[in-house]
């Protein structure tokens, strides 16, 4: 089969360094994240009726559905929303069902609860789902088969739909043409209540409750509740009870002093007063969501210093609400969770110190567990959670609570012990940089430099003093030796502590500082499986700012954080996460030496303009204006640190093609929507000169066009548009190499001159040298959303093109050899070309599974990949971020300067011992022979 043949060809074409099985999961790490879980959509649930263990289901604030094993916090399955849909993310589950139903944007999907496969999916075009409920009972009878879903639509087409639980087909639709803002649906065993916010032209908003028949969807009744101008928008409504035997709706006044509760279906409003004393900041109502549970609920009052709660009972016959008892006020923050067992309702109070369980019937404490804190949760308090309680003979024997903490850790507290924590605060990283540590080597270099200035004697004394000072590390080093040797031989070397980042031999322990959408800053050690070294909330430094997409720059010892909504910038110490005031930072002299100036460039009004850094007047020294109709979509510059080991490429006949190496290269991508054309322009950023242009027709300009540039080559990829009758379809990857001259052993027009200037080319020899560009295109099976190149210390190691494939959730490292534009076309390579490692050109590159850096991990939502050199030449560090976080290290030319796990140290030792023993045996033999030979001759 042709495809098989191609696959085999691709496999043998580039024997790239793949991941070794014993290295996988050791040199790399992956945080499969969900995001911060939403309170009303996090629950324990059995994946199917009759299952022994329950799983923890949640939908996060970025609409990722995740299912976690409550035992160890491992992800069972997850489905990330590919569309940034409007509206809230909702997740509901019926009792005893084997599906969970989610809604995000205009999609309502049912997922198999145990493995996350799709059961059905329905789209409501032109509307967003505002609320979702499962119809537990119909006419008081529990449906044993698939339970139907009730969907509240808003934004354009307000209405209520009932969807079949098996197929997702609509059973009936109730359309609301009154112009009210839909708020919530609530079901009772006999009726469906549709609650909307009625805002008349004059006067305060009113709550309108419409009761619908579950069978036909016809309107049965409608009434409005006067809220006395308490409710202006939906944020003012505290709670609209879902699925309880007596659904409730509750709201407060603006000062949080008075709580008003209405039992849905009745017109009476009960009024309760919040506890006097400290002003109440927030009121939260916790009620069970099971139909057959007791109609009890808990109201939590949060103040600035503490929290307290009252428990209320609903009398269903009289339709009255009465206060049952109060839970004592506690200092510090805490949260309550509700859990049910048969008809009984239990409330679990979780604080940072203690977990207590009370029954809704009486205030007697059924169980109390002190919480043993962990460093991950130090200083954090519980925000919200969900619990499962086991009660035997009126005492709670076990309780487990999945709690979201204020520092973004989602953890499970089992009987007071922290069973696991998931660092959900790391999801949706928008920017990441490699931290530059204040290097010790530099300090040493300074000391040695200082010696050079002194006279001989004092320099000698200085040197001896330094050596004596260094001796103090000697005992510790000596003590460590047995441990290190033992650890090395057994092969179970314990991961070095974070303090060891400075004493890292191979340079694998590099810190990456990441910042998330919401302004949370964290440092991860890529060398020790992404361990979180520190993490802070930027909001504590500027409480008024709401971070949208902060950006960072790294300097020696600190990072600078900027945001559009932030005035100035925040400086954070890279190793500790502490705030540094801008005065403490020594103003670093620019990288440019005396008499030189830097040119920076930026997009201004759709043109790319270059500026002189030193000049205060922002006058462009060059402008790149794309041709009429073209729009610049992106530009990529050659990395500042891009060492090149060899200035030429040695051909098979020992002649040399000289690389075009210009440090100031910028690749600009432009598109024309109307003619579906994409063009790339290669510019010299010092002079603004155009060096190369190439253009492609029939490009799907709505899809990402990624590009990268390194050394003397650049590459970009795009999607072919089907609108015109193209001869081929799919995705293309273009790779171009630049040489000084098309002829080998020739350095082009500037070959003889020792200096050349791109700014004033005419003063040199003729025109500025334009590169000779070799360009080749390949078909690729998948779309590339982002590409970058590996980096090594000296640039000796061959580079790998790292491409992100969003469709298969992976990152692939394409070896340079496979995408060499000099691969011979239409003929087999000659012997000389073969000696260069060139193979015959094939029009497609299939991504060999062995090229995948992520192997079995599935990286969802990768936005960007950054690379860095490590301490050794062969290896480059890779870090990918987005929704997930992934880090690994790659050795594109194999790990030639470090012993891998394949090196058997025990075997080597045994060999040495065996040799030694054999020498011991042979030595007397040889001696005897020598003596004999002396006697005989």
């Amino acid at each position: 089969m042709r495809f098989d043949a191609a696959l085999a060809l691709a496999a043998c074409l580039a024997p790239a360094a793949a991941v070794f099985e014993d290295d996988a999961h050791h040199i790399d790490f992956h945080y499969a994240l969900l995001g911060l879980p939403k309170h009303d959509a996090t629950f324990f649930q059995k994946p199917f009726a009759g299952s022994k263990a329950s799983l923890l289901y949640t939908i996060s604030q970025n609409q990722t559905i995740g299912v976690v094993n409550p035992k160890d916090g491992a992800l069972v399955w997850r489905q990330a929303s590919s569309h940034d849909g409007a509206g809230p993310g909702l997740l509901r589950s019926g009792e005893g069902q084997d599906t969970v139903v989610s809604a995000a944007g205009d999609r309502i999907s049912a997922w198999s609860a145990s493995d996350g496969r799709l059961v059905w999916e329905t789209r409501v075009a032109g509307a967003t789902v505002e609320d979702l409920e499962i119809l537990e009972q119909e006419d008081g009878i529990t449906d044993t088969e698939a339970k139907d879903a009730i969907v509240l639509l808003g934004n354009g087409k307000p209405g209520v739909k009932r969807l079949d639980g098996k197929t997702g087909r609509t059973k009936w639709t109730f359309e609301d043409a009154s112009g009210d803002t839909p708020f919530q649906v609530s079901t009772s065993p006999t009726t469906i209540y549709y609650i909307s916010l009625h805002t008349p032209m004059i006067g305060a908003s009113k709550l309108r409750v419409t009761s619908l028949s579950p069978i036909t969807g016809k309107k049965l009744d409608q009434y409005t509740l006067s809220s006395d101008s308490d409710i202006q928008s939906r944020e003012h409504i505290l709670f609209a009870g879902a699925n309880t035997a007596a659904p409730l709706i509750a709201w407060t006044d603006v000062a949080n002093k008075v709580l008003k509760i209405n039992i849905i279906g009745t017109k009476g409003v009960s009024t309760f007063h919040a506890p006097s004393g400290e002003p109440v900041e927030r009121i939260i109502l916790h009620a069970p969501d099971r139909v057959n549970s007791l109609a009890h609920f808990l109201v939590e009052y949060q103040t600035a210093v503490g929290h307290s709660a009252d428990v209320y009972h609903v009398d269903l016959k009289k339709s009255t609400i009465s206060k049952a008892y109060s839970l004592p006020a506690l200092k510090g923050k805490g949260t309550f969770t509700t859990s049910t067992s048969d008809a009984n309702v239990y409330f679990t109070r979780v604080t940072a110190e203690e977990v207590t369980v009370v029954s809704s019937v009486s205030h007697g404490v059924l169980g109390r567990w002190p919480v043993r804190g962990t460093p991950a949760l130090a200083g954090a308090y519980p925000v919200h959670g969900t619990s499962e309680v086991v009660v035997k003979a009126d005492s709670a024997t076990a309780v487990r609570s999945a709690i979201l903490f204020s520092n973004g850790q989602w953890s499970l507290i089992r009987n007071g012990e922290i069973a696991w924590t998931r660092p959900e605060f790391l999801s949706r990283v928008v920017s990441a940089v490699w931290a530059e540590l204040p290097e010790e080597e530099e300090a040493l270099a300074h000391k040695l430099e200082a010696e050079g200035d002194r006279n001989l004697v004092s320099a000698y004394i200085h040197r001896v003093e330094r050596h004596i000072r260094d001796l103090e590390h000697f005992p510790a080093w000596l003590q460590n030796i047995p441990n290190r040797v033992l650890g090395n031989v057994i092969g179970k070397s314990e991961e070095s502590a974070i303090e060891e980042i400075h004493h890292d031999t191979f340079g694998f322990h590099k810190l990456v500082i990441v910042v998330t959408e919401r302004g949370r800053l964290a440092a991860l050690d890529v060398g020790s499986k992404g361990k979180v070294v520190w993490h802070i909330d930027l909001n504590q430094f500027s409480p008024k700012t709401t971070f949208h997409s902060p950006s960072m720059r790294a300097f020696a010892g600190y990072v600078e954080v900027k945001d559009a909504s932030l005035e100035g910038s925040i400086y954070i110490n890279s190793t500790t996460g502490g705030l540094i005031s801008s005065q403490d930072i020594e103003v670093r002299s620019n990288v440019a030496a005396e008499g030189q100036s830097l040119i920076s460039f930026d997009l201004v009004d759709g043109d790319l303009e270059g500026f002189l850094d030193t000049k205060s007047s922002p006058e462009a020294i060059w402008t790149f204006e794309p041709p009429k109709g073209e729009r610049i979509i992106s530009y990529t510059a050659r990395p500042v640190k891009d060492p090149v080991a060899s200035i030429g490429k040695v051909l098979g006949d020992r002649r040399v093609l000289y690389k075009y190496l210009n440090p100031n290269l910028v690749l600009v991508t432009t598109v024309v929507e109307s003619s579906r054309t994409a063009s790339v322009y290669l510019l010299d950023s010092a002079s603004g000169q155009l060096l190369h242009t190439s253009s492609h027709r029939d490009v799907d300009v709505s899809r990402p066009i990624s590009s990268t540039i390194s050394e003397n080559w650049f590459s970009y990829s795009f999607t072919i548009d089907s609108k015109s009758a193209t001869s081929s379809r799919g995705y293309q990857l273009v790779v171009a190499e630049m040489y000084e001259s098309p002829l080998p052993d020739d350095r082009g027009p500037l070959g003889a001159s020792p200096n050349a200037s791109t700014l004033q080319p005419s003063e040199g020899n003729g025109d500025a040298a334009k590169p000779h560009v070799l360009l080749q295109t390949w078909h690729i099976p998948e779309e590339i959303s982002h590409m970058t190149v590996t980096q090594t210390r000296q640039g000796i190691t061959s580079r790998e093109l790292l491409v992100t494939l969003p469709a298969s959730n992976s990152i692939v490292g394409i070896p340079r050899q496979a995408i060499d534009p000099r691969r011979p076309i239409g003929r087999d390579p000659t012997a000389q070309e073969q000696s260069e490692g060139l193979t015959k050109y094939t029009p497609m590159i299939l991504f060999d599974p062995k090229w995948h850096l992520n192997h079995k991990y599935e990286l969802i939502g990768v936005k960007n990949v950054i690379t860095s050199e490590s301490g050794i030449e062969s290896t480059s560090l890779v870090f990918a971020y987005g929704l997930d976080i992934f880090g690994t290290r790659v050795a594109p030319s194999f790990a030639f300067d470090i012993l891998g796990k394949g090196f058997n140290k025990v075997q080597m030792l045994l060999t040495v011992v065996a040799l030694f023993v054999s020498v011991l045996f042979v030595a007397p033999l040889v001696q005897r022979k020598q003596i004999n030979s002396l006697w005989t001759t």
């Binding site: 991941v19 999607t719 001869s727 599935e858 394949g902």
Partner: protein, 238 residues
Amino acid sequence: MRYSIFSAACMASGSSAARFMLHMPATQLLNPSTLLSTTHATLQASGAPVDAHLTRSNSFNFNNVSAGSYLATVHCRDYVFEPLRIDVSMEETVEGSGELKEVVRAWQTFVGNEWDNKGESRGEGSNGLVIEVKPLAPKYYYNERSGFAPLSFLKSPMILMALFSMVLIFGMPYLMENMDPETKAEFEEMQKKSPLSSGTNPAQQLQNFDLASWMAGKTETGVSSRGQSPAPQSKKRS
């Protein structure tokens, strides 16, 4: 061109929406029930691709697909699937009747080939067509480490050379002893004549061996050979 006819048909009918399903049958290679829930299929033509999740019944459902020619790809962590070309068109059921009906056709397609270069047909029919997708191969992500195997150890040329020289060193004296005196004398005569052991005792030569001067290439033969060799180029080669 067939495709342009399709697009013309699409324009004429205004909106048309076909519905079909990609189904994974159980084969010897693959039990589709074991696939991960992140397995999904995409239909790409223009703009954002249409995405379908894997369902409980091991299939991908595509609803409301407008007329056009699509590249269908199944993305799976563990298996490679063949790409398909799926054409959706509106065609008259009976010639001249004016009644349009959705027709779905599926073929194999090949990456890096012309779009019109279709492979085997994978199905043709109206709405609700079930197209089977087959896995080509499982994906192997890991490199195997070459472990220690005694046989491969013995096969390596270095070890073979060492073994051969061992046999020579230990076997020669016995051979010499077992030779009859005439041949022995002849052999010794030959050895004396040979340039290798000219005059001196080889053992003595070995003992007086000056390693430093040998490494510096002090012998006459070494110098002459160096002079002739294209030294800089050979360095590059390495």
